[in-house]
Amino acid sequence: MSEPPRERSPGEPVQPGEWGLLQWALRRDLRLAMRRRSDVLTVLGFFVLACSMFPLAIGPQREWLMRIGPGVIWVSALLAVLLALPRLFELDHGDGTLDAMLASGHPLPMIVAGKLLAAWLVTGLPLIVLAPVLALAFSMPAESIALLVASLLLGTPVLLGLGAVAAALTLGLKAGPTLVTLLCLPLYVPVLVFGAGSVETQSAGLSPAAHLALLGAGMLTVSLLAPLVSAYALRISVE
């Protein structure tokens, strides 16, 4: 970057580096999300409502709620992420932005990485912020809540990364959103097992370190591979 930063006119092409590209995609998607707040709120509303259905279904006994709390919150978070997935590439596909991104010659994985980061910030992070409130409604003790938040912090990027591949593969298909669910849920099993399992383990008096370490390993692997594989999947779907 030898040139000093200057004001760009709207039509002028951008020539960013790889990280600049990521930042550009991140900013763009965040701005788009802020302009379409209802999409984000729908996902959060779904998360809260899905969690609230369980006490209504099984009864308000405190011990039961404490017992199922971590599992219910984890499953609801997982379903909320699923709900957000089809939106990930659909808007850009619909208005031709995605074609422009593919044709631009810029490394697509960096753009996808930026998009994924933005998606996590607008869906994953709010879920994690809301989770403790819901955990209180399930009478979960403080240390369980802290662990729940930690496991969601490590787990939601995995959900989003795996989901991005499925969303990219089903892009533009009529059955897309339904199909994403069918493709993702089997792959989400380990995340759910280690995520909800970490809280369970602690309640049973064991150390949750192994669960968190495996989730963390999954998070690092998926964060690295998901942009590459999703970008490849986008090329398959669009070309």
Binding site: V165, G176, L179, L182, P186, V193, F194, Y232, S237
Partner: protein, 244 residues
């Protein structure tokens, strides 16, 4: 590369046609032999009685269900790396057989579980991971069915298979861990008593029968896929006697 000659659908079609009857015959003969050994000659299990005999179908089906997914993923790798057309068709052709095998394994397992464990379904690690494997098959089939363009379908399916095959061991171990956490080892197949030699023979013969059946079914199916996919080409039109 002489091997790649067979990767051309045009060459593979008649070759598969010649192979199908042989594998079908092998499946029938081995299946009959395996059933005779399994249901006629193998001794009654002293713990489980006659009900154990379902393993002559159950175990080969479960093995095939796992094996076929790996084979599909290998074809998926070929599709992604070399973009060979036939490999995508082979993955497609194998999928229904693999799903069938997973379904047979689950169904026979449930039938065996009721008298043995007292329940059609327990959340045992093997059962759960086989169920998830069935969902992986169904997901693959749903994806390729939803994509109209065959090339895109092949490649999207291949990528899904590769993601899936990396996940299968992780799913298996996670489920195993999950199960051991929830309940101490209640039922374990690994601790089963040593098997009589005739039982093992019967099971192996049945495995080869399932193997032959799967190959025959997949080759038969891939021939239909080839014809459908290449129906506009000259060689198919010549073969079918369509006026040029």
């Amino acid at each position: 590369m002489s091997l790649f000659r067979f990767a051309a659908p045009q060459t593979f079609y008649p070759m598969a046609g010649r192979m199908v009857p042989w594998f079908a015959a092998a499946a029938v003969l081995l299946g009959a032999l395996g059933l005779v050994i399994g249901f006629g000659m193998a001794p009654t299990d002293f713990q489980q009685g006659e009900v154990y005999r379902v393993i002559f179908i159950h175990v080969p089906a479960a093995w095939m269900a796992m094996f076929i997914y790996v084979v599909m993923a290998v074809y998926g790798l070929l599709t992604i790396v070399w973009r060979t057309r036939l490999s995508g068709m082979m993955s497609r052709a194998l999928a229904p057989t693999g799903a069938l095998m997973a379904a047979i394994a689950l169904w026979t397992g449930a039938v065996w579980g009721k008298p043995t464990w007292g329940a059609y379904w327990v959340w045992d690690a093997r059962l759960t991971s086989t169920l998830i494997l069935l969902f992986l098959y169904l997901g693959y089939m749903a994806l390729i069915a939803a994509i109209e363009d065959p090339q895109r379908g092949d490649r999207a399916g291949a990528l899904l298979l590769l993601v899936g095959v990396v996940n299968v061991p992780i799913i298996y171990f996670s489920v195993r861990w999950w199960n051991t956490l929830h309940q101490g080892a209640s039922v374990s197949l690994t601790a089963a008593p040593k098997m009589a030699a005739t039982m093992l023979t019967g099971m192996l013969v049945m495995t080869f029968a399932f193997w032959a059946y799967s190959i025959a079914a997949a080759l038969h199916r891939v021939r239909s896929i080839i014809i459908e996919r290449e129906r506009h080409t000259r060689w198919v039109r010549l073969m079918l006697g369509v006026p040029q």
